[in-house]
Subunit: 392 residues, 2 copies
């Protein structure tokens, strides 16, 4: 097990109706003037924004609103938010939405406490040293941004999508009512489940050290999330399925399942380029990239991919040819993704074969030697090969 530090100070308030407690929480944490940040009109039309406003006002606080966050949240909306925070003297930011809205809120919170351009933190020019307190009312299970140390923003002018890791990215609280996710279309529920699984899988396909405990936790979580996703896509009104996806999204990405491990994140880097160029849903992009990534890398550690097949998809172990078992596991995962309605090919995403070299070249290099990925180091040639597997 590798040395680690781990701290998730986010307070989780989980269950039916908990969005009505948000005003009291913000007051307890010292907020007086709140920016309610949200995405499309559905949060307004469903009455959620009104309920949140009522809770804030009945706690004796005031608020301003900023909607319009899009999936793959843009720097342009962040600049708008920072300006509003400064003009209105906001002292607490409340995200009401999914990962895009929470990420946009994190960027506004950091940027509001910084004299320079907030994008400095995303392009690597500066590190955030302080932030404004922020919390989240979660409306969908996917990105895990409600307690993760990640935040992904897209620069609109260049279509560059970049992530920032910082402990400042962890919200003060996450208010989580699984009922709020019931109105999502099945496609979006499936995208969320795919994202959740990918967050675990980026942590799971590690090779270096003995991590039986977190292996078992990852496998248990994946098993439960696959089951819950199958139910929730068919029966979005199943509270228990939605609850397990929602809590699953949280533990999948706040490092509860990453303890003591080397993590990869190569598939995420490749996917960032797909969703930046074609503006596809992040989960759909991952459904295309991750199985191709697995097929490309499985020969380097067939026993680990076989373990995934046996423990998560109940494949039978082929002791003579573990690589056969590994392949069965990848096929089972593809079948699951197909079952819940996810795409598996670049074509289904609307991506073009001729863009492959450009996508491979643009993928962020995460290692000092210019390669990408923490476990399986990839050159642009490797990434091109993976994208060609997905181009079927």
């Amino acid at each position: 097990m590798k040395n680690f530090t781990h701290c998730v100070p986010t307070r989780f308030v989980f269950g039916r109706g908990v969005e009505n407690e948000v005003g009291g929480l913000i007051r307890e944490m010292g907020g007086t003037k709140v920016l309610i940040h949200y995405g499309g009109g559905s949060a307004v039309r469903s009455g959620l924004i009104d309920r949140v406003k009522a809770s804030i006002e009945s706690a004796g606080l005031s608020c301003v609103c900023l909607g319009g966050v899009k999936p793959n949240p843009r720097d342009t909306k962040v600049y708008e938010g920072i300006e509003l925070v400064r003009r209105e003297k906001v002292d607490f930011i409340l995200a009401v939405g999914g990962g895009s809205v929470i990420d946009s809120s994190k960027a506004i919170a950091h940027g509001s406490c910084y004299d320079g351009d907030f994008w400095d933190f995303w392009c690597g020019k500066a590190k955030p040293e302080r932030t404004m307190p922020f919390g989240a009312v979660l409306t969908m299970a996917a990105a895990g941004s409600e307690s993760s140390n990640s935040c992904v923003i897209t620069q609109e002018s260049t279509l560059t999508k970049r992530g920032l890791r910082s402990e400042l990215n962890r919200p003060r609280f996450a208010v989580m009512n699984p009922e709020l996710a019931m109105s999502l279309p099945p496609y979006q529920i499936a995208c969320g489940a795919t994202d959740i699984l990918a967050h675990i899988m980026e942590r799971y396909f590690t090779c270096e050290t003995e991590v039986d405990l977190t292996d078992r936790l990852c496998e248990g979580a994946m098993t439960a999330i696959i089951r819950a996703a199958r139910i929730a896509v068919k029966h979005p009104d199943s509270y228990d399925a939605q609850a397990q996806l929602m809590w699953g999204s949280t533990i999948a990405h706040n490092d509860t399942l990453g303890i003591g491990r080397v993590q990869d994140w190569g598939s995420h880097q490749i996917e960032h380029e797909l969703s930046a160029l074609y503006d596809v849903a992040h989960g759909a992009g991952l459904a295309v990239v991750f199985p191709a990534w697995m097929r490309y890398h499985m020969d380097k550690n067939p026993m680990r991919f076989a373990q995934f097949a046996v423990r998560v998809y109940n494949c039978e172990m082929n002791f003579e040819h573990p690589e056969e078992t590994a392949l069965r596991g990848i096929e089972a995962h593809e079948a699951f993704l197909r079952e819940i309605g996810m795409p598996l090919t670049l074509k289904e995403l609307g991506a073009r074969t001729e863009d492959i070299p450009k996508l491979a070249a643009k993928t962020k290099k995460t290692n000092p030697d210019g390669t990408t990925g923490g476990v399986f180091h990839m050159t642009p040639t490797d990434i091109e090969a993976i994208l060609r597997i997905a181009d079927r």
Copy 2:
């Protein structure tokens, strides 16, 4: 899944040599004068206390020491600590040891900020409203006190052992070096593993709601801990086995594995009476009580006990007679406990048959109707029957 709130703000610093970082951590958290609280002479003889002192002094802080905490920590030592804290104007308490030392430190921290008798919090007369900051250098994997909201103290004059649940019980940090546990005798490692498993099992045998995700996490953790315990008892110098037990102790009792569940804690209440009366190790007492508790209750929910048997101990499911499978699981658990050197009977603990009615009568009633246990409600007659199963 039941509604819940969950917040573990403890910062975990885990790995080889991390005890040398403790001074910097305390300074960062505002401490200037530290009480180092510990147990027996081994922490001194091993040089650990000296290393901790050196780290504190090189961070520019001063310290005083109070050793002598015994297993099943006593109120008398807590009073001594509170007096020392006040006399020396201590502003940070550092536990160096296992669960007993950490629990004693928690009680000193709460008591130092309270005008009345600290025991008020344990006997239910008052609730703690503030505390002094405290952290822990963990030397053994067992109680999970390094991030739990629990604290158990024994009143020496009456041999009454009582627990306090409070969010104030969570340490500011937990410094965890698995190497420090390597010098423990195998019996103590086994007691620790038994305690860790019992913390998960108190959360696992729930019946009320759909909790597949935390079921799977509990099962995965139990599987890994059983494996690590078998290794660590034979090879105490296995870093990876000790690391998994140490991190296992933490997640077993900070509610990572209790999310959305009704919990029981009946076995713990019964065991508290055993260790208060005979001063046996808590883990050894649990090894005797828990299987007897399982045998007594399994008929009320044979499918849940069969699930434990199949998923944790790989027993084959008997679809015609699930209660047979349930029994095979209990037997497998007993065989595991025996294998790692744990007692299974009251006699092996040195407990007397004639004390059974007294033990049953004295067990804390946790429910308004005078029964004990969150899932399986027990009268003193039920508890007596369980103790008689253990009296074999």
